[in-house]
């Protein structure tokens, strides 16, 4: 496949909404799904377009940004933990909950372990001090308790409901 002397191999990814992305090979290989695609079709041509039917353009752009940065960090020899932390904090800062959810879904589909760990951690931190209603809305969970039942469950561990942030 990849020939010696060829400077950089570029992999084409096609999202569900029809956009085409050009990604450097090392970054694309972060995606387990892309990697396995090439492992399975070894004779795939260089310009094969990998279809990603479950991912739309917006989260993919975010994921590529994240992976690019991390691949670079690794190339720089782990590149100082503080730097990575700083980047992660910046990266997550202006993302809304909706964006986060899309990101984690996409990351889950693409099967990027590092990013999944990071995103679950981030979401856990966001949800840590939130109320039950907020989390229900976040995950889209339907409340199947009757009000009496819910009251009983709440009563059981009342202290756990102290110190909840405002939504």
């Amino acid at each position: 496949m990849s020939k010696l002397g060829q400077a950089k191999r570029i992999i084409f990814l096609k999202t569900a909404d029809g956009q085409l992305f050009e990604v450097d090979e090392p970054v694309a290989m972060e995606f387990e799904i892309v990697k396995s695609f090439f492992d399975e079709n070894e004779d795939a041509a260089d310009d094969t377009v990998v279809p990603l039917p479950n991912v739309s353009a917006e989260p993919l752009a975010g994921i590529i940004e994240f992976c690019k940065a991390h691949v670079e960090f690794r190339a720089n020899g782990a590149a100082g933990k503080d730097e990575v932390k700083k980047f992660n904090a910046e990266y997550i800062k202006e993302k809304s909950n909706e964006q986060l959810k899309e990101l984690i879904l996409a990351a889950n589909y693409l099967n990027i372990k590092e990013m999944l760990d990071f995103l679950t951690e981030t979401i856990a931190n966001r949800l840590k001090n939130k109320s039950v209603e907020y989390v229900r809305a976040f995950f889209g969970i339907e409340n199947d308790f009757t009000p009496q039942e819910e009251e009983a469950v709440r009563k059981e561990y009342e202290w756990a409901f102290e110190g909840v942030d405002e939504d």
Binding site: A16, D17, N54, V55, S56, K101, E102, I104, L105, N108, L116, T120, E121, I123, A124, L127, K128, N129, S131, V132, V135, R136, F138, F139, G140, I141, E142, N143, D144, F145, E150, V153, R154, E156, Y157, W159, A160, F161, V164
Partner: protein, 719 residues
């Protein structure tokens, strides 16, 4: 066109699980309200276990310092976070599988759950297992049993009994049936199972006054023993409750350094980093390398903070007295208190709290200083008041400390409340040491010891002279002879009378004469006979006795047929008979012609016990001059022989009365040493558990020694 299904109803369940694992327990409890499926999920044991492993694996060491619990990142000292406040003197007992056990000197144990930050006190049984023990020391350990999925608190209790110096280990295992609910609510549903087991490692260096600690390293029970000389041994039990699996893990010798370990603790949850692991030794965090067997000190977070505090303090005090200047001046051999010897630099100043010459414990170069001094057994807390530095006689303020150690500690706490922690700690250490010393001194003073006295020569001579005179005056030879004769007549000496032969013949001749006299006088009245022996009280007693006993025979024996009415006469006749009979015993010693009455009488004398001859062991040097003792050990008869040359032999008869069962139990040869047994009486015997723990106490050279049968060695023994 993203898939609308994902956009609204959201995230697949396994992702949600992954998120939930990263949440603290408190949040999870709240999220039980999300919906019914979530409620049952969060309460399920599988989820709880997974949550444990996820949540804890992302952390943490735990450190107890200054009444608070801190957590730090695993095997490093970054990110130190303060967690809980603790009660006084609490320390970490151990940690495993996401729980932390804490204990305090009152042996209260509490479990700490880092997942929800809840501290829970265990209802540990406090009662003594043996009523009559004098003192009891307990060591605690905390561990996790992988096989049964239980947490265990192990307690080794060492009892010391009033009689003998026997102290031994008993291990009480307490199983906590751990409930999964424990994660969320601290509900205790366990039971205690107390199983005494013997887990003591075989350790030849086992002395009585070690400091012992139980810790868990790599999920295995470890026994840490520290000796006074600064040697630290760590023993590990490879397989739980298997005595043979004990092995020595580490031995650190710091005896040639001035600072020894005051305590040792592996950091909770600390794991092996290759060959290294972190220990807490002496308030320092030490990285111990197993392979190189070396210790590397890591400056801990706390030390750095302490130093910072000290610096600040110093800055403040510089205005009062220039400590640094004083120190710079005196440190280079200009201090008259300094004593430089091979082992280090020491300080002769009586106010020095440690006795070591360094910056922090110099009583001159510290404006803030506190120490403890002893005035005839009374301890005083001395505090420097630097404001009065211009009046050296009023520089120190002193407070009398009560005898009670704990109260003294309280007073120190009260007076040194806002003082630097270092000083308070050192002062308390000094108090501990001094109290121990005072106890030892008292013990020694109470012990009876040999005292050497002088006797004036003149007095001795005078006494000897007087003794000689008194002996002459007493005419001992004659009175002894008289007394012996009387005894002979009474038959005290049993059967053999003809030894030595010449004396025997002499007596016989004498008695023959007397007897013929008596026979002549037989018809005469009894009064005359008595008159002859009037002056001898004992004679009368003897006759009364003989008369009575024979009288008894008469009344018992119908053949003789004595009437009750002529009682007096019978007595009279009896007396005569008694006399004659006793003479007969003398005369017809080895003849069987003795009358029925005499036979009966003899039987009365022997009736107190049956004498049988025990066989004696072969190879038994009776001919040597030996001192013998008899003892019963483990229900068996023992013969202890001590020979002059310093040999001690103990023979035991395995089966009573069987000659072949004699065997030599102990043989100690001290003939080639100067001190022989000066005293060996009465040896007290103790059997330990099984034959190898046999202990024999022998006293020699004013010391008790314990003989170990297995090792065939004597061991000195303090008490």
């Amino acid at each position: 066109m993203a898939n609308p299904k994902y956009k609204t109803s959201g995230i697949p369940l396994d992702l949600i699980y992954n998120i939930l694992y990263k949440l603290p327990a408190k949040t999870l409890l709240r999220f039980r309200c999300l919906s019914k499926p979530f409620c049952s999920l969060i309460a399920s044991p599988d989820f709880i276990k997974l949550h444990f492993s996820h949540y804890i694996s992302s952390r943490l060491n735990f450190i107890v310092r200054d009444l608070s619990l801190y957590s730090s990142e695993l095997n490093s000292f970054d990110n130190i976070i303060q967690l809980n406040d603790l009660r006084e003197d609490t320390k970490v007992l151990g940690s495993c599988k996401s729980f932390l056990a804490l204990s305090n000197p009152h042996l209260d144990i509490s479990l700490f759950n880092p997942a929800n930050g809840i501290l829970f006190e265990l209802p540990f049984p406090h009662e003594d297992f043996h009523g009559d023990c004098v003192s009891r020391v307990a060591f605690l350990g905390f561990g996790y049993d992988h096989v049964n999925d239980h947490y265990k608190v192990v307690r080794i209790v060492r009892f010391r009994f009033e009689h003998g110096d026997g102290s031994w280990f008993t291990d009480y295992e307490v199983t906590i049936e751990e409930d999964m609910e424990f994660l969320f609510q601290v509900v205790y549903t366990g039971y205690f199972l107390v199983v005494p087991i013997w887990v003591q490692p075989y350790n030849p260096d086992f002395e009585k006054d070690d400091v012992l600690e139980l810790v868990v390293l790599m999920g295995r029970l470890c026994l840490v023993s520290m000796y006074d000389e600064g040697i630290l041994d760590v023993w590990m039990m490879k397989e739980y409750r298997v005595k043979e699996s004990w092995f020595k893990l580490i031995s650190i010798d710091r005896s040639n350094k001035t600072n020894s370990f005051s305590f040792f603790n592996p950091l909770p949850f600390s794991e092996w980093r290759g060959d290294e692991f972190i220990l807490e030794v002496d308030e320092e965090h030490v990285l111990y390398n197993l392979k190189r067997e070396s210790v590397k000190t890591e400056k801990s977070f706390f030390q750095a903070e302490e130093e910072k505090q000290e610096e600040e303090q110093e800055e403040k005090q510089l205005k009062m007295q220039h400590d640094e200047v004083i120190w710079q001046v005196i440190r280079h051999n200009h201090c008259s208190f300094m004593a430089k010897i091979e082992t280090g630099k020491f300080c002769r100043n009586p106010y020095n709290v440690t006795g070591i010459c360094n910056r922090s414990s110099c009583p001159l170069a510290n404006s803030r200083y506190a120490t403890i001094r002893d005035h005839d057994g009374v301890f005083y807390l001395y505090m420097k008041t630097i404001e009065r530095a211009h009046q050296p006689n009023q520089l120190w303020e002193r407070v009398k400390l009560p005898r009670n150690y704990e109260k003294a500690l309280e007073i120190i706490d009260k007076h040194l409340m806002y003082w630097p922690k270092f000083l308070v700690h050192k002062t308390k250490q000094r108090l501990t040491k001094m109290t121990q010393m005072r106890i030892r001194m008292r013990k020694l003073a109470l012990k009876t010891r040999e005292k050497i006295m002088t006797t004036p020569r003149k007095e001795k001579k005078r006494e000897a002279r007087r003794q000689e005179k008194a002996e002459k005056a007493a005419v001992l030879d004659k009175s002894i002879e008289k007394e012996l004769l009387e005894r002979l007549k009474k038959g005290v000496y049993g059967d053999i009378y003809n030894y030595p032969a010449d004396k025997y013949n002499e007596i016989l001749d004498k008695e023959q004469l007397a007897a013929s006299d008596l026979e002549d006088d037989e018809e005469e009245a009894e009064i005359e006979y008595v008159e002859g022996y009037d002056d001898l009280e004992e004679e009368e007693d003897m006759e009364d006795f003989g008369g009575l006993s024979i009288n008894k025979f008469h009344t018992d024996d119908d053949d003789v047929g004595v009437d009750d009415d002529d009682d007096e006469e019978t007595v009279a006749v009896d007396r005569k008979r008694a006399r004659r009979e006793s003479n007969m015993t003398l005369r017809k010693l080895e003849k069987d012609e003795l009358g029925a009455k005499l036979k009966k009488k003899a039987r009365v004398l022997v009736e107190s016990g049956v004498i049988s001859v025990l066989p004696q062991p072969d190879y038994f040097y009776f001919e040597k001059e030996a001192v013998f003792d008899l003892a019963v050990v483990a229900g068996r008869f023992c013969l202890i022989c001590k020979y002059d040359e310093g040999l001690l032999d103990v023979w035991m008869m395995n089966e009573y009365g069987v000659k072949e069962s004699w065997f030599n139990l102990v043989f100690i040869d001290r003939s080639n040493t100067i001190t022989s047994f000066s005293f060996l009486n009465p040896p007290s015997w103790e059997w330990g558990n099984g034959a190898d723990n046999f202990v024999l106490e022998v006293k020699w050279n004013e010391k008790l020694v314990v003989y170990d049968l297995k090792k065939q060695k004597c061991r000195d023994c303090d008490d």
